[in-house]
């Protein structure tokens, strides 16, 4: 009879307890089985279920759709459910997403992001009340293609964690909110562009972006918020220029 010794990996997890705020941030170390099919989220679940039930983190769908499990993995913001544990054979350090206050362990305070998200009205805005008997609003594939990939945002906040501007200037509207605002600006069914533009182009809006581009590199859904920000700047300037040159144009 042979005994197979299971490979393990050392996982170092950042801890913070609001009951003991004076202790600040600390790290706990756990030995976790290195299984080829495990995601980092499986390792965290193993720690909580088998080793330390006090470990706190957000997760839900396990398939990179809900955007709950964004974390800093060896210094890179990623989704824990979408990253193989096997990618870290020499050890893994898991921390809460940077640029946000931490509520407990790996759980960040998302209130600021939720305020910014609602400010850009990420839904189809119509003038007045539509009569549903008029039927649906149809779009051609070309009209949908204009905004399609911006609509893949899952609000995971990884782009905010990757953005040094947001880390330095917390008032900055930020990548995901602009990407979603831009998505609805490109949707021909939407009539809320004026309100949205006022938020996107105010002093906390797109002009704060210095185009580091890390938001687009970090995005797990390939949304490309950096492009949305630059195109919003360009569209705004072109609109103002056209209004100046052709004042009769609204």
């Amino acid at each position: 009879m042979t005994t197979t010794i299971e490979r393990t990996v050392t996982v170092r997890v950042a801890r913070y307890s609001p009951e003991r705020p004076e202790e600040g941030k600390s790290y706990a170390t756990y030995e976790v089985p290195m299984r080829p099919t495990w995601m980092v989220l499986d390792a965290l679940n193993h720690i909580r279920w088998e080793i330390d039930p006090t470990l706190t983190y957000r997760h839900s769908c396990r398939m990179a759709v809900c955007g709950s499990c964004g974390m800093l993995l060896n210094g890179e913001p990623k989704l824990a459910c979408n990253t193989f544990l096997d990618d870290y054979p020499n050890g893994l350090t898991v921390e809460a997403l940077p640029n946000f206050p931490v509520l407990r362990d790996l759980v960040i305070d998302i209130e600021d992001f939720m305020d910014k998200l609602s400010a850009i009205k990420p839904w189809i805005v119509r003038d007045g009340v539509d009569d549903p008997s008029g039927g649906e609003y149809r779009q051609t594939p070309e009209e949908r293609e204009l905004y399609n990939h911006f609509s893949h945002c899952i609000n995971c906040m990884i782009c905010y964690a990757a953005c040094p501007v947001y880390g330095l200037e917390p008032n900055f509207l930020g990548p995901a909110a602009v990407a979603l605002g831009h998505r609805y600006q490109l949707d021909d069914r939407d009539q809320g562009n004026a309100d949205r533009e006022a938020v996107l182009t105010n002093e906390d809006g797109v002009w704060n972006c210095s185009f580091v581009g890390e938001c687009s590199k970090a995005c797990p859904k390939h949304v490309d918020p950096a492009a949305a920000i630059q195109r919003t700047k360009l569209n705004f300037v072109m609109g103002k220029l056209l209004t100046f040159v052709l004042p009769w144009r609204r």
Partner: protein, 138 residues
């Protein structure tokens, strides 16, 4: 509400661990470092242009003034500086073209042209025009 209090906590909530951006943040990732080089390249461009304005002013003052000016800047350190400024300005131009593919949306026959194609077309034009200008001016 775009002014959240990121530092500290109010009395009604559990204390939060505030985020503080480290001053060396730009050294922590390759992309951040390249970004800082791109931003700093504007300083090299500004200094180079100031030197160029000085050269034009000397030219306006006549042949002798221009000759003296060129003698002053044409030494070893002047050549090293110009080579360094050229390399950094080329890097700035190259990365600027790379951003063009992200921003520009060009349609051909109703189809969006891929951003990578716009980038390569810009970079190819940059190289070809630079080579043509080099042969015209030398």
């Amino acid at each position: 509400m775009l002014n959240p209090e990121i530092e500290g906590a109010d009395a009604s909530r559990a204390p939060r661990l505030a985020w503080k951006m480290p001053s060396n943040w730009w050294t922590t990732k390759r992309n951040y470092r390249l970004f800082m080089v791109r931003e700093a390249s504007a300083v090299f461009l500004a200094i180079f242009l100031l030197g160029y304005l000085g050269r034009l002013a000397a030219l306006a003052d006549g042949e002798a003034a221009y000759y003296n000016y060129m003698q002053g800047v044409g030494g070893f350190f002047g050549i090293v500086w110009n080579c360094l400024a050229l390399a950094i300005i080329c890097y700035h131009a190259w990365t600027w073209f790379e951003t063009a593919g992200m921003v520009a949306q060009v349609r051909l026959g109703g189809k969006l042209i891929p951003g990578a194609m716009i980038v390569r077309a810009n970079q190819a034009a940059f190289v070809i025009i630079s080579v043509v200008l080099f042969f015209i001016l030398t």
